[in-house]
């Protein structure tokens, strides 16, 4: 909502208040702004000049040479403008002036003729072309009336007025008007506002002779009023009105339309004028449209209506879509003689639905959608008649039609001091509260020691219950003045168990050199195909958006891996030669297709790495360390080749006991190719929810060994396919109670080794807690281990 300050000042006197202060105080009382536009900034060098002479340029057909009186001198200006005449007063940008479009005026010559300055158009002064009158579209702005030449433009006319742009919140449609903002301003600065004439008891008198109105659907049109002007004289509206409209962001058209817009901005009531001679039988019916009824609106678009749409119709056809846009068939034109001016109130939901299905949003529909009280119709009618009379537009027919059968109920709300204390934490007397509420023009109808009762004015559609008044008190009291305290009560803060695990996971992975990434929760459905898993039933249970930003963001991710691969590829392509990273994020699996319930949403950990030093075992190591760090025991790795995303020979499932926690593997070359990834990638996917279930953060002290341990090594030759896990299992099972640790420390394949065989060496540690072990106590299990290895694996001792 753009409010020219001089217009506001007509309603509440504020011209003694500094603009900065005015803005700040209004912000703090609840009228937030998006800034103040100052047209006159740096523009003292634009002055009013008078054209004394106009001659054709000797060397250019399309140029004129003007002698312009600018006060201190008569200066020569060459112009191409064709709308300038001798005697015109107009804005002259003197040498050194800066125009709104960034141009700086310099002394110059045009085709050999001296030109000292420039005549200005409205956009050069700072108005957007969308709000300037068509008549000045390609020309110089010619001023109305006479002026002292040489006066700075912005001092002589209101063109340079400050315009405050207010951000009106959806609960305050009443503030979408100069009157509404005057009310807020008056309340903020505790000043009385000039009340508009709100006489509401209209008489029909002569008007019946000129028009007949019938409202069929009172549920959608609670009030319909209007009046007639005959023999109108259509011309541009006065300059002061045009300037205010432009400042408020509305393009001046002609006197009839401009007044309707002016009153709409001032009072907040949309108004529509019809060419009365084009209304068949001089009869207006407010009714629901027929299904499929067609009508061409003012913007020359043919619209197809539905039965829920409300139309203004003549006896024969629709002539306007109620509250949205008028019909082309009754538009005001240069030839219009007699007009009917409609001032009506329409149901906000109906207007919203109509505007939505037609895809047609107008200033009027936007205002009706937000809600307008029907009492405002009267004020608008009074103001319209006042302005039309002042401007002597035509013969105003005596009388106003006003169909308003059901007056709205008055709302009374009780407000207690105790509630103010309970919600705001401040203590106020009812006298205090009354004073604040009256500043906002609420009527206090009952005043007690501990409470008061307010009659809500009809324009405050947002005030429905006590809490609404508490808010009014808060902003009048000033949020600034409310003290700062902290909530009482004893509450302790902490992370819950799951969050503690999450924190530990992240901390460990970062400590081990991994970078945390964050990627979108929605992905392309082709992501699953890209990782070779189109056959995977679970991963294809997509939660699909009905209105995605594009196919690539159209389903919720069922796995974190595709995003990880994208990030790694991007980094590789960006020349980052190594990356270890992880993401801890949600995956979404639909319970059914199409989706009817909330999906299974659970957290998952994805690790991905490439570059020097990265191989299957380094990532496996990170995973193993992570699980151990979380107190997960009996971790097992089981080779598998049934996940097509991964290299069939380099993939393991990770278990604790029999619970699958995830996988570690090298990404399949085909998948890498799908991503255009030039480096090998090793990844791990872990189920965070399972990890939380199996983690154990309890720590118990284990005595530090008192007796020395004995280490023995064993080197054996085994067939290539024998796995480390098999050997360790046999050693562990045969080593007896005193075997506390066994580790592979060497694998050798070479000339001295039979083909298809490998030599493996293990280090074993024996220890007892209560004594130093004897040679025999170690040798016996050692022999047993060897025997078992020989028997079960055909191992040969080396």
């Amino acid at each position: 909502m753009r409010v020219p300050v001089k217009w506001l000042n007509e309603h509440v006197e504020i011209d003694d208040i500094n603009i900065k202060h005015l803005e700040e105080k209004l912000i703090l009382s609840g009228s937030n702004t998006e800034g103040v536009k100052d047209f006159s900034k740096n523009n003292t060098k634009i002055v009013i000049g008078k054209v004394l002479e106009q001659t054709k340029h000797p060397d250019a057909d399309k140029l004129f040479v003007l002698q312009v009186d600018i006060g201190e001198e008569v200066t020569q200006i060459v112009t191409g403008a064709t709308n300038v005449n001798v005697g015109d007063f107009l804005p002259v940008a003197k040498v050194g002036a800066h125009l709104a479009n960034g141009i700086k005026i310099k002394r110059g010559k045009l085709r050999g003729e001296v030109s000292n300055g420039m005549l200005c158009s409205l956009d050069e002064i700072g108005f957007d072309k969308s709000v300037t009158p068509k008549m000045f579209d390609d020309g110089i702005y010619i001023l109305e009336g006479e002026y002292k030449v040489g006066t700075p433009l912005f001092k002589a006319v209101d063109l340079g007025d400050f315009v405050i742009e207010f951000e009106i919140t959806p609960n305050r449609p009443d503030c979408l008007s100069i009157e509404g903002m005057a009310r807020e301003t008056g309340a903020t600065f505790n000043r009385k506002r000039k009340q508009l004439n709100d006489k509401n008891d209209f008489k029909e008198n002569d008007i019946k002779k000129y028009i007949d109105i019938e409202v069929e659907d009172l549920d959608l049109c609670p009030r319909y009023a209007g009046f007639v002007i005959n023999n109108v004289n259509i011309e541009p509206s006065p300059q002061w009105m045009q300037i205010r409209l432009m400042q408020a962001g509305v393009r001046p058209i002609n006197n009839i339309v401009d007044v309707t817009n002016y009153v709409m901005l001032e009072v907040g009531q949309p108004i529509h004028p019809f060419d009365l001679d084009l209304v068949d039988d001089k009869k207006i019916i407010v009714r629901r449209a027929l299904d499929g009824e067609k009508m061409t609106t003012l913007d020359s678009v043919e619209r197809t209506l539905k039965n829920d749409d409300l139309v203004i119709a003549s006896a024969k056809k629709s002539i306007g879509i109620a509250g949205v846009m008028g019909g082309e068939n009754t538009e005001i034109t240069e030839n219009t003689k007699n007009i009917f001016v409609e001032v009506a109130n329409f149901n906000k939901t109906a207007i919203r639905m109509t505007s939505k299905h037609l895809g047609l949003r107008t200033e009027a529909s936007a205002r009706f959608e937000k809600g307008i009280d029907s009492d405002r119709v009267g004020k608008a009618v009074n103001r319209l008649i006042e302005l039309y009379s002042e401007m002597n537009i035509g013969e105003l027919v005596d009388g106003v039609i006003d169909i308003y059968p059901n007056l709205p109920d008055k709302k009374n709300i009780n407000l207690r001091t105790s509630e103010i204390k309970r919600i705001l934490g401040i203590e106020l007397s009812t006298d205090n509260m009354k004073e604040m509420l009256e500043r906002l023009e609420f009527k206090v109808v009952e005043l007690n020691e501990d409470d008061l009762t307010v009659e809500v004015q009809s324009f405050r559609l947002d005030i429905c219950e006590e809490i609404d008044l508490v808010e009014e008190i808060a902003r009048m009291y000033g949020y600034d003045n409310i003290p700062t305290t902290l909530p009482g009560g004893v509450q302790y803060g902490e992370f819950n168990y799951r969050q503690k695990i999450e924190n530990k996971v992240k901390k460990l992975l970062v400590a081990k050199g991994l970078y945390e990434i964050s990627t979108y929760s929605f992905v392309s459905p082709t992501a699953v195909e890209k990782i070779n898993r189109s056959e995977d039933e679970i991963l294809n249970k997509f939660v699909r958006l009905i209105n995605p930003l594009g196919e690539e963001y159209s389903v919720m991710r069922t796995t974190l891996l595709p995003n990880m691969l994208e990030v790694l590829t991007r980094n590789n392509n960006n020349g980052n030669d190594k990356m270890l990273s992880f993401e801890l994020g949600n995956t979404f699996i639909a319970k059914s297709i199409p989706v009817t319930d909330l999906p299974i949403e659970k957290k998952s950990i994805c690790i991905g790495a490439y570059g020097e030093g990265v191989d299957f075992f380094s990532v496996k190591g990170i995973v193993e360390l992570l699980l151990k760090h979380l107190g997960i025991v009996n971790i097992k790795f089981e080779k598998t080749n049934d996940i097509l995303t991964y290299h069939p020979g380099r993939l393991t499932k990770v278990y604790t006991d029999d619970i699958l926690l995830g996988v570690v593997g090298e990404i399949h070359p085909n998948v890498l190719e799908n991503y255009g990834m030039g480096s090998r990638v090793v990844a791990a996917e872990l189920d965070f929810e399972k990890i939380v279930e199996d983690a154990n953060l309890t720590k118990l002290y284990n005595p530090v060994p008192k007796y020395p341990s004995i280490e023995r090594d064993i080197a054996i030759l085994v067939k290539e396919e024998v796995t480390n896990a098999e050997i360790i299992d046999i050693i562990s099972a045969s080593g007896g109670n005193n075997l506390v640790d066994v580790k592979l420390f060497d694998i050798y394949r070479g000339a001295q080794i039979k083909s298809n065989h490998k030599s493996v060496a293990y280090n074993m540690i024996f220890r007892a807690d209560d004594r130093t072990l004897t040679y025999e106590e170690v040798q016996k299990p050692y022999d047993k281990i060897l025997r078992n290895l020989e028997e079960k694996l055909d191992a040969i001792r080396r």
Binding site: L28, S29, N32, T169, P170, N171, R422, I423, L424, V470, E471, A474, R475, D480, I482, P483, T484, T485, L486, P487, G489, V490, Q491, Y492, G493, F495, N496, Q499, L509, V510, K512, G513, Y515, E516, I517, S518, T519, Y520, S521, F522, V543, R544, L545, I546, N547, L549, Y553, V567, R570, N571, N576, M579, L580, S581, N586, F588, T596, L598, P599, E601
Partner: protein, 339 residues
């Protein structure tokens, strides 16, 4: 014999002066004090001495030996320190050579700031509540007093799965879930991902992060809200940070406010980060609307509460002076490395 002993001592004292290494010192010891050393040789003649002389010479011989041993000991110390000196000299290095590569990973910048914020609120007695990214229209809008025709519900503002399910546009549905599942007192923050129908550009992302807070108890007032957020702002942005509460409108709170903090870049003087206003808008907040409390089965006559919400992405970008939101989701290692 005494003379001989004296001569040995003398020659030993001379000889030890030229000893420069532990090896030479060992040779010296063997030569004088060894089993076949000169001292032993001389003492072989002890038997020939008279009974009177023997103890005297014996004593003298012992003194001589002790003397030599003393010399050896002190020489040993000297040689040890010389040898150490030599070793240290040999081990001299160019300390400006590059360090060994020791790597640590990095958290994502959003989570660095999020952790900071969580710590602040945990310190103030809050717990962290979480909820799903896909939630119901009811939890995201209806229960929060959002009008049925509110523009934020439209397909051009919110991502929908179907008529009842959507991608949450705020973390407030977590507040609804928390209130429905717990009785007051409630004191939580709810951080998380949110989604709004915005094309990705330098300042918009269809996915972003919010942190909301909720306190519900008896006698929770707007003064408590002000105090809480003022303290929070000082903890996050610095002790000298000031806050400004401007009235605003949200359907789920009343009274509602927007909160500006004094610009933590320029201290309020005016700079490019605060568009020369000295203030940065950072939070929306208010007293929980009684309709919301009642909808969540909390007696609004007995309990009151406040709620607040802020954008994690915006705060992160402001704090680190990141000028393009896309950087947060591109995950280039050279970017993440900086936090």
């Amino acid at each position: 014999m005494r003379d001989k002993l004296q001569a040995i001592l003398k020659s030993a004292e001379e000889e030890i002066k030229i000893v420069t290494s532990s090896e030479q010192l060992d040779e010296f010891r063997v030569k004088y004090l060894g089993k076949k050393g000169v001292l032993k040789e001389i003492l072989k003649g002890m038997g020939k001495l008279s009974n009177e002389e023997r103890p005297l010479i014996g004593k003298f011989a012992n003194e001589t030996r002790e003397n030599i041993e003393k010399h050896i000991e002190s020489m040993k110390e000297r040689i040890k320190s010389i040898e150490l000196e030599n070793q240290l000299l040999k081990e001299d290095i160019d300390v400006t050579l590059p360090s060994s590569e020791i790597n640590i990973g990095h958290k994502h910048p959003l989570n660095v700031i999020l952790d900071e914020i969580k710590d602040i609120f945990i310190g103030m007695g809050y717990k962290v509540a979480e909820g799903p990214e896909v939630d119901t229209v009811y939890n995201n809008f209806d229960a929060l007093n959002s009008p049925k025709d509110h523009p934020s519900r439209s397909l051009s503002d919110t991502f929908y799965i179907n008529e009842e399910l959507l991608l949450r546009t705020q973390t407030s549905p977590v507040q609804v879930r928390t209130m429905k599942a717990n009785n007051p007192p409630i004191k939580i923050i709810s951080p998380g991902r949110c989604f709004r129908y915005d094309e990705l550009d330098a300042t918009h992302s269809p996915m972003f992060h919010q942190i909301e807070g909720l306190v519900v108890d008896e006698d929770v007032t707007m003064a408590d809200l002000k105090g809480t957020l003022d303290l929070f702002a000082k903890r996050l942005f610095g002790e000298n940070t000031k806050t400004k509460f401007r009235p605003h409108y949200f359907p789920f709170t009343e009274p509602s406010a927007e909160v500006d903090v004094s610009c933590f870049k320029c201290g309020g003087e005016g700079c490019k980060f605060c568009s020369n206003t000295g203030w940065i808008e950072i939070l929306g907040c208010g007293m929980v609307h009684p309709n919301v409390l009642e909808e969540c089965d909390i007696d609004s006559k007995k309990y009151s509460g406040f709620a607040f919400g802020m954008g994690l992405d915006r705060i992160t970008m402001l704090k680190y002076e990141i000028d393009d939101i896309r950087l947060l989701f591109e995950n280039d290692i050279r970017f993440i490395k900086q936090f």
